[in-house]
């Protein structure tokens, strides 16, 4: 009898254990920090100095891969196990703000001696504002840029990268004629929405209308963008390929399968590392060409946010201030190649002397945020799919725009209902 009771008790304890785990005992001076992506690997290194400066604060760093971060964070939200501090993709901020999970940072930033908001690139900082409130401090920038093969462009008869779509089209055409049937002028991976997003942000129209109640993809501007995007495939300038099909983008860039590629800053380090030495001078970065002149790009990046449930906000803010210091961002850049969001960091020697980074500095004055609605990620995927349909010839540009608009309106139905209820202003 005793034995059985003991077994039952043990079973009950096992059953209760996971419940007990959800609320960790959290001292006011313990900061849990979830760092997403490769940055997570260097985060522990990066904060060593902070730990010696503030021996009263204890930091727990947790690494997360980008591919699982979104799911993991939402699950953590549902289970009430979100960390104090996290690096969040800035397009996710509206979503977590809709969940009331983020702490507004305006007052903290105003009182701070370390974080001077006017030192940040305005476009990037703005992507952290939802309805006028600041919810994240930019940590690093992920703005898409044009990578190009200088040697191939030169062979085709051009000495400088394009600044307008028309110029770009001439170059794409000339390169295609030069490289022939088996090679291409540009890579626009069909499984990425970013290149199309960048091109559509260059047009003046909004992508969503009525403060994000309805899609605005039937606009002439988006129509033109999609037409331009699709024409690059129709004229065989771009291969109908996804990244998984290419297998190794860096090798193929080196082999000259394509001469233009729209990608983010992390690829500077990758290309440097992976391309053979004789090609070291063969490639360069350039700001995005636009419809009529130098164009905008997306204000992507990762930001540091404090979650609402945090029980140690002062300590978390102290860590955030430390991570935002110019000297620390400088080191962060050296460790990862991530572009810092503060102008003062850009004046540092290593960054100022990098020829590849120069294009970013020019582009950062021309960045634009994608629509700030929680549903954006999903709409962006639908956008990619609409483009894929056009590229694969299952749909015309007109039909794709109409269908995309309808789908977007459907996705935003709940948001409209919420807005009408006055839950979202």
């Amino acid at each position: 009898m005793v034995n059985r009771r003991q077994t039952m008790l043990a079973l009950a304890a096992v059953a209760a254990a996971p419940l007990g785990c959800t609320r960790r005992s959290h001292g006011p001076d313990t900061v849990s920090f979830w760092a997403v992506g490769r940055e997570g690997e260097v985060a522990a290194d990066l904060i060593q100095e902070f730990l010696s400066e503030r021996p009263d604060i204890h930091v727990e760093v947790q690494k997360l891969p980008w591919t699982a971060a979104h799911e993991k964070l939402l699950t953590a939200y549902a289970g009430d196990t979100l960390p104090d501090l996290c690096s969040l993709g800035n397009t996710w901020i509206p979503e977590f703000m809709a969940l009331n999970a983020l702490t507004p940072l305006d007052a903290l930033a105003k009182a701070s001696r370390e974080i001077a908001l006017d030192d940040y690139f305005p476009g990037i900082l703005d992507s952290n504002r939802v309805e006028g409130q600041l919810y994240g401090i930019p940590w690093y920038i992920d703005t898409r840029l044009l990578y190009y093969r200088r040697d191939l462009l030169h062979q085709a008869g051009f000495d400088a990268p394009p600044t307008t779509w028309a110029e770009w089209e001439r170059m794409l055409g000339a390169i295609k004629t030069m490289v022939g049937r088996d090679r291409y002028s540009i890579l626009l991976p069909l499984n990425e929405f970013e290149p199309l997003l960048v091109l559509s942000l260059q047009q003046p129209s909004e992508l969503l209308r009525d403060s994000g109640r309805y899609g605005n993809f039937r606009s002439d501007d988006f129509h033109r963008t999609l037409e331009f995007y699709a024409s690059m495939f129709r004229r065989d300038w771009a291969p109908k390929m996804t990244n998984t099909q290419i297998s190794n983008v860096w090798d193929e860039f080196g082999r000259g399968l394509f001469s233009f590629y729209i990608s983010g800053p992390w690829n500077i380090a990758e290309f440097r590392k992976r391309l053979p030495p004789q090609l070291a001078d063969a490639w360069m970065t350039a700001p995005m060409p636009g419809p009529t002149g130098p164009g905008a790009s997306s204000a992507g990046g990762a930001s540091l946010v404090i979650f609402n449930r945090s029980g140690s906000k002062p300590a978390t803010w102290a860590l955030m201030e430390y991570l935002s210091r110019s000297t620390v961002q400088q080191r962060f850049y050296e460790l990862t190649g991530n572009m810092p969001p503060r102008r003062s960091t850009w004046q540092s020697s290593t960054l100022a002397s990098s020829p590849y980074a120069k294009a970013y500095l020019a582009q950062l004055d021309r960045v634009r945020s994608p629509p700030k609605v929680p549903e954006w990620e999903r709409i962006a995927q639908e956008m990619r799919l609409a483009a894929e349909r056009v590229v694969q010839n299952v749909s015309t540009v007109d039909a794709a725009c109409v269908a995309l608009d309808r789908k977007t309106d459907e996705i935003l139905e709940k948001r409209r209902w919420m807005m009408d209820k006055d839950r979202v202003t």
Binding site: L74, A78, L99, T242, T244, Q392, K414
Partner: protein
């Protein structure tokens, strides 16, 4: 204590576990499928709307759902017979008396089952590669044009079938091998004395011998194949043009990517109904054939 009550005492722990970890979640999911549970509802339950069968109605009007269902059925229709055929063929070969190194082959054929799909996918991506792939190299050597396996919407699903069959046939092979070894040698001997050819022996001795196991294997394989998810997830992300988008993939994206758990639950129940019906039909067919 009456024996009946004692029996209840013995069953109770199992019933509680089943109730808490199976029936309760299923009922909760059923209830959830009648709501528009999403991100907003996660924040505040006041944002939850009870919408009855609206999720189901909307799904039945959703072209992507039908497309994913069509893809899944295509995968099952192509994959299950092929998989069982290959398993049976491999089992016959491994069981054959003339074959050498039988245990080596048995291990080799079973190896894909225990390897990780993610690792295997990296290798297969290169095998399917349009420019450098082994498969296209083999096709070229017999004079066929290269196939854009992962990029052409018509070829992506067959490519996934090839991968899935290669990955899974070893498991069924082991089960079928056990069934083959259970067929008494006397039967083959008697058939040979009666002058039966190899094919006749296979048709009238081997097949009836493994019949019941074959039915079991086909039900297991079919239910497994209906749950197609990991292969497109790691190989194609549902593309190109959603040609490898399966019902489970649809459910995963709705539920865990977009967090529309209401709709995802509705998909789960539709898939459950479908699999239930197909299994019943299969069992009935098997029974009829067994009775005949």
């Amino acid at each position: 204590m009456r024996p009946q009550r004692a029996a209840w005492w013995f069953v109770t722990p199992a019933l509680i576990v089943l109730g808490v970890f199976f029936f309760l979640p299923v009922l909760a999911a059923l209830a959830m499928s009648m709501t528009d549970f999403d991100l907003y509802a996660l924040d505040d339950f006041a944002n939850l709307r009870w919408i009855g069968f609206e999720n189901y109605a909307r799904l039945l009007r959703e072209p992507l759902f039908w497309k994913s269902l069509g893809n899944t059925l295509y995968f099952v229709a192509l994959g299950v017979p092929l998989s069982i055929g290959v398993s049976l063929g491999a089992a016959l070969l491994v069981n054959s008396k003339v074959a050498k190194f039988r245990s080596v082959f048995r291990t080799v054929y079973f190896a894909p089952v225990v390897t990780t799909l993610v690792a295997v996918a990296v290798v297969w991506r290169y095998i399917f590669h349009t420019r450098y792939g082994f498969l296209n190299y083999a096709l070229a050597s017999i004079g066929l044009d290269p196939v854009d396996w992962m990029g052409d919407p018509h070829w992506a699903m067959p490519a996934i079938v090839i991968l899935a069959v290669w990955k899974n046939f070893g498991y069924n092979m082991i089960i079928l091998l056990a069934a083959l070894q259970n067929i008494p040698d006397d039967l083959y001997e008697a058939a040979r004395i009666d002058g039966a050819s190899g094919w006749q022996q296979f048709r009238h001795v081997t097949l009836p011998g493994v019949g019941p196991v074959l039915l079991l294997v086909s039900i297991l394989t079919m239910t497994g194949y209906f749950q197609l998810f990991a292969e497109p997830y790691v190989m194609t992300e549902g593309g190109p043009l959603q040609a490898t988008y399966s019902v489970l993939y649809f459910m995963f994206e709705e539920g865990f990517k977009w967090w529309s758990l209401g709709r995802a639950s509705a998909v789960a129940f539709l898939l459950f109904i479908l699999m239930f019906v197909v299994t019943v039909v299969q069992l009935r067919l098997g029974r009829e054939r067994g009775g005949a």
